[in-house]
């Protein structure tokens, strides 16, 4: 178990997943004392069909819904301030974020703004003290998810907010919202989930509570991502990938050492490459170094990856390297399936040379940053 004298874990998010999950939303909101939600989304990112599916789920509820569908990647404090005043003026009492990535980040910061009421959204920063529960926030992810939707983090306006109160109260995953996604999108979602869950599972500060989330996430990705990528219309497999993404976010909230996460985030912030794509490129290198140095508990990956039989057959001393080999094969199969749709290195991902300086800067100057730069060198291609 965790070597620290005292460890803590918390996952404030309730999970609802499966058939007709969206239709439970009116009851779920009532349970949070809310009946007048504001939906925040991006029509461009999630599509009209997903928005309509969500709205239809409220059919027969008699509720009135607010809808803002114009979140962009450049959402800024002006927008948050504007939405905040509308929220307060129209007396909305909950936020539903439909989508992933920046949509949810913006929703988390908006929730902070409306909950603290008096604060000017321009003055919010990661240093803003958050002392208690915020207004209800529900996240409804689509197939394009970073995995951080369920986490306590919000990446907004070049800053990282972090508080367990920022995490949503509820995540609702419905198979209808993975419709129309392509293999490339699902792969990026699944690989980000894999990267974050692997990182949680092997880090020195792990504990059995967090392990439950990372274990289930890794198992789901291993068992379902290949099928979902090959056949995105396989609703069950796609939903399992979405579940894994949600679990990985819960685990990521409590993981301190997060090298893959950092690499993925830097490339996403600067070049908008989905973090899962970069995490997959870096994963074999980072874990390979760990194996050489005996730094992390790679053996802990084998059981979720291969299941009971193969795990029991593998001698303890071989588990770490077997896990790494299994991961390597898993990734190369995915690369095989997706071909050009899943870049194997930065060259294939078309990262322009002039951006590299910013990216390397973003990794920081400390020991970890210096190490991560060596990883980036190895994925240049």
């Amino acid at each position: 178990m965790n070597p620290a004298p005292v460890f803590t874990f918390t996952c404030p998010v309730k999970t609802n997943s499966g058939n007709k999950a969206l239709e439970h939303l009116p009851v779920e909101l009532a349970g949070l004392n809310a009946g007048n939600p504001l939906i925040i989304t991006s029509r461009k990112a999630v599509g009209q069909k997903a928005i309509q599916t969500l709205l239809d789920a409220f059919g027969d509820s008699g509720m009135t819904l607010g809808l803002f569908d114009g979140v962009t990647t450049t959402a800024n404090p002006d927008l948050i301030e504007h939405l905040k005043s509308i929220y307060l003026e129209k007396k909305y009492d909950a936020i539903i974020a439909l989508g992933g990535y920046g949509v949810v980040d913006a929703a988390k910061v908006l929730n902070l703004a409306v909950s603290l009421k008096t604060a000017d959204a321009h003055k919010l920063s990661p240093a803003t003290p958050i002392r208690g529960h915020l207004s209800p926030l529900v996240v409804v992810p689509t197939a394009a998810a970073s995995g951080l939707e369920t986490s306590k983090f919000a990446h907004f306006n070049h800053m990282i907010y972090s508080s367990e109160y920022l995490a949503p109260n509820l995540v609702v995953m419905d198979p209808r919202l993975t419709r129309g996604a392509d293999g490339k999108t699902i792969a990026a979602t699944g690989l980000a989930a894999l990267g974050r869950a692997v990182e949680a599972q092997i880090s020195a500060d792990h504990n059995p509570f967090r392990d439950a989330y990372s274990f289930a996430a890794i198992r789901f990705i291993k068992e379902n991502l290949p099928a979902a990528v090959k056949k995105p219309s396989d609703k069950k497999a796609s939903l399992a990938v979405l579940n894994a993404a949600s679990m990985s976010g819960c685990a990521a909230s409590d993981t301190k050492s997060a090298r893959l996460h950092k690499l993925g985030q830097v490339f996403y912030d600067i070049q908008h490459i989905p973090p899962g794509v970069i995490m997959a490129m870096c994963l074999p290198h980072v874990l390979g170094d760990d194996l050489k140095e005996g730094a992390c508990d790679l053996a802990a990956l084998l059981h979720p990856l291969v299941g009971d039989d193969e795990f029991a057959r593998t001698p303890a001393a071989k588990r770490a390297e077997t896990a790494l080999a299994v991961l390597g094969r898993f990734l190369s199969d995915l690369y095989g399936t997706l071909g050009k749709d899943l870049p194997r290195n930065l060259k294939e991902a078309c990262v322009p040379g002039y951006r590299m300086e910013d990216i390397l800067d973003g990794l920081g100057q400390d020991e970890e940053g210096r190490y991560l730069k060596t990883v980036v060198e190895r994925i240049t291609g």
Binding site: P5, T15, A212
Partner: protein
Amino acid sequence: MLLPDYYEFCCRVKIVAGHDALEKIPDLLIERGAKKPLIITDKGVAGAGLIDIVTRALRDRVFADLIADNVPPDSDLRVVNQLAGLYHDNACDAIIAVGGGSVMDTAKGVNIVVSENATDLMAFSGVGALKRPLKPLIAVPTTAGTGSEVTQVAVIKDHEKHLKMAFGSYFLLPDISVLDSRMTMTMPPFITAMTGMDAMSHAVEAYYCLQKNPLSDAHALAAVNMIYQYLPIVAKNPADQDARLSMAVGACLAGIAFSNSMVGLVHNLGHATGSVCGVPHGMCMAIMLPYGLEYNMHKREDAMAGLLLPMAGEAVYRDTPPAQRAAKVVSLIRQLNADLNTITGGRHARFFQEVRDRDGKPMVPREVLPEIARAALSDGASIYNPEDTDYDDNLMVLEAAWEGKPLDRNKVKKG
């Protein structure tokens, strides 16, 4: 790992675990803007000196002198109202519950009254009557078993009106559960064994009952692993601090698993035996657990087989042919009960015939089994059991559990 067509999972409780976990409480209270907690406990816990450990950990940082140790073994509406009055009169701003299931239930009840300014607790009974967060509640369990530090339900009895009120809401989940090894160190082997098997039954039933889901599964597997490994150790060496902490963590994981996936026949018949004969809950769970597995095996053999690896480890798993793994799990649980029976000098009963009260009188005479079988029809756990149960089924299982004979699985009516 299977993804059900639909599932829900929630455990919002912040877990703080360690040998010095109690010392974190002041910071956690201050973060939540609280500094004057009401400490709720019972005489047994206070008498064992556990409250002194808690107050020592709090003193100097927050107010720690307001202690109510009058929680009865059976929750009582009058006590809830009296403690709520104490909370108001002293302008408290948080609750710390130190104890087992009854203390947790009482604290949850007090929290409803003080947070909602309720004059009638009844108005908040049932599911979903609470709509917003309550006052900060910190749960400090003193047994590694009930899991009530992570459950969203409370049962409060109105002894005057002979009413049993049940409350269910995610807002009843404690904000924080503090698992500290010092809180269970003095628990005698007999109680340790029984409460540990209670936790084991939570984990095992969570893994085969109808509402299981990937997250409850992951918690259940981890719980089974820790409890099976550490329960015999703490029963033998009560002072083993690391093993005590592992049991507290295992029981908490089991609590999270079962409060999301629910429980079945073991709890169904166990509750009924408890209410008809007064047998302690943990002992009923210990005795019934192998039978719950046997009764449901035709519907859940794969899931049960999946418990073998976390319980017995790789070598036993490899040496057991796949078709015999579920049956092996049953025999290992029977063996665990037998080992605990030996360790406790016979006080840990293996079957109902062996259960005796303080005077050595049998607590479950054979002729009450029909009454237990009937009472079980009124217990909600039957809904989540994989196989249907009626009066005859209940009686058949109880007869076997009374004699201590394995269930004849050919006689189970299969749906």
